[in-house]
Amino acid sequence: MSQLLEIEHLNIRFVNGGKETEVVSDLSLSLDRRETLGIVGESGSGKSVTSLSIMRLHPDETTRIKGAIRFEDKDLLALSEREMQDIRGNKIAMIFQEPMTSLNPIHTVGKQIAESVLLHSKATKKEAMARARQLLELCGIPDPDQRMKEYPHQLSGGMRQRVMIAIALACDPELLIADEPTTALDVTIQAQILELMKAIKKDRDMSIIMITHDLGIVYDFCDRVVVMYTGEVVESAPVKELFAAPLHPYTEGLIGALPRLGQPTERLSAIEGMVPDAGDMPQGCHFHPRCPYATERCRAEHPPLTTLPDGRQVRCFRGKGEQ
């Protein structure tokens, strides 16, 4: 079995007071070894919560999770906290969105990288520091010896994100989850970080989940993509096929909203309307109020996620078999 990660019928609810809000419903997806999966969606679509729940980093008291997250045939949701600690940072590592605040301000960069190595191996402190230096170099940080001794506030955002990547790579994880790793960075720095991640992907036997709202990154970086809307998968397909022929009107809208070089446009097109509030979901298809193709059926009935003969999945009455 080559599948590294399999999420089955994942259901995540936030509890606030006595009120429960469903933020991810019946999400199933799988990830092969060495595959790069993009998860795309607007803010509030449940993509970050999903990634945090794979790491079991969601707040326990306010989150209810059902379903299974199988990693190397172990259900992560059923593991004890102690067993989970052996997996975090070791087998599954994560890069976060905010490099400015994701590093501890009172520890040196070297210490923060070496710490991961020390946690999961029998390396001595000296060996761990040597490994940290090597990782900094790998992540394209100039003058690593000097940087090792510096504190996060002495580094730029791009440099900090490189440090975050170095921390994530410290134990050669099987799975790397990148939660919007470039969102908080300048465009030029974004490109550099993405180049670095591509180089890492090429060199290592690693699966990657790239969570983003940027379809450009998905096109550039991923093998397969899952599009999420209001906590549900609405479409899942190999990247090239998705861009060539999006099946779901939401995906179509997202691709249509991308600016294209060489094609003069007066206005960028946008998807009309707003993402509905999690506590106030429309009847029927969640996307129907914004959908240009919506019919009576869409308003009344919630479409199931359908797998097409070519393996693509779509949650739309219209897309099924028509393409």
Binding site: Q85, T101, S102, L119
Partner: protein, 338 residues
Amino acid sequence: MLRYILRRLGLMVVLLFGVSVLVFMISHFVPSSPEAANLSQSALNDPEIVAAYRAKWGLDKPVWEQYLIYMKNILVNHDLGTSIRTGRPVLEELQQYFPATLELSVFAMLIAIVFGVAFGIISAIFQNKPIDQILRAISVSGVSLPSFWFSLLIMNLFCKVFAIFPSGNRYDPRLYDPTGGTGLYVLDAISWGNFSLLGDVLAHLFLPALVLGFFTMGLITRQTRSNLLEVMSSDYIRTARSKGMSQRRVVIHHALGNALVPVITVSGMGFCNLLGGMVFVEKIFSWPGIGQYAYLAAVNLDFPAICGVSLLIAVVYVVVNLVIDILYGVIDPRIRYQ
């Protein structure tokens, strides 16, 4: 770092100069006269005696001249003047009373910091659980109970009702004579290897130190709890957890250091507050320290003593603040490199 410390020391000199001027002026402009406070009624009726008294203590000279003489005596002769009340050199008296106060305040701070930080951590970890509620009750009483009332309560309870602790003084004079050391009896007892004296000194020290440190402990508990809770929800704590660390390690290695920076500020404020509470506590526990000395100096309008005590407390204040600023730099690199 060294330059930073030197700059702070320079500022300290300026500050102390300001304090000396203020203290001297304020104590001379209070609407009361030292002769009225110190001479008998019959002597006061004799203008010659009053004039002689004023001349003897330099009170007939203009205030600025008095100040210059005072400063010259301090800086050149290391002389803080002679106490009007006792007739002894003020410096000598401060040297006699200060160790008692130093010992008391250091122990009060130790109690405040050790229990305050520990309670704060426990409260944060068991947020809204019963133990958090209990500790909240303790810390809120700490910051809200008036210290004179609390002193009396504690003293009555532990010295009289349960009679576990001795009350008054720093040791039992019937059993021990700890003179001849540094005046810091805990240290003296340890260096002499006299452990029964050590026990006696600690037993005398415990209640006043507890009462004195109680307010600061409450302050530190509240501050540690809220900071730790805030820090625990920050992004870098999530990063630390994503590395596969145990919760305990996350708290100790990643959260605590960050949470303690504001706690240091509060400890500094608490220490200064403690110097103020000293007068009550020393009076109630008959602790022969600076607080009692200051009280007696004030009621007798003993100017040299008042100025001496004020200057001493100002020096302590400034030194404590310097230490706090240096501690910031040690804990938080962002401050160190500014």
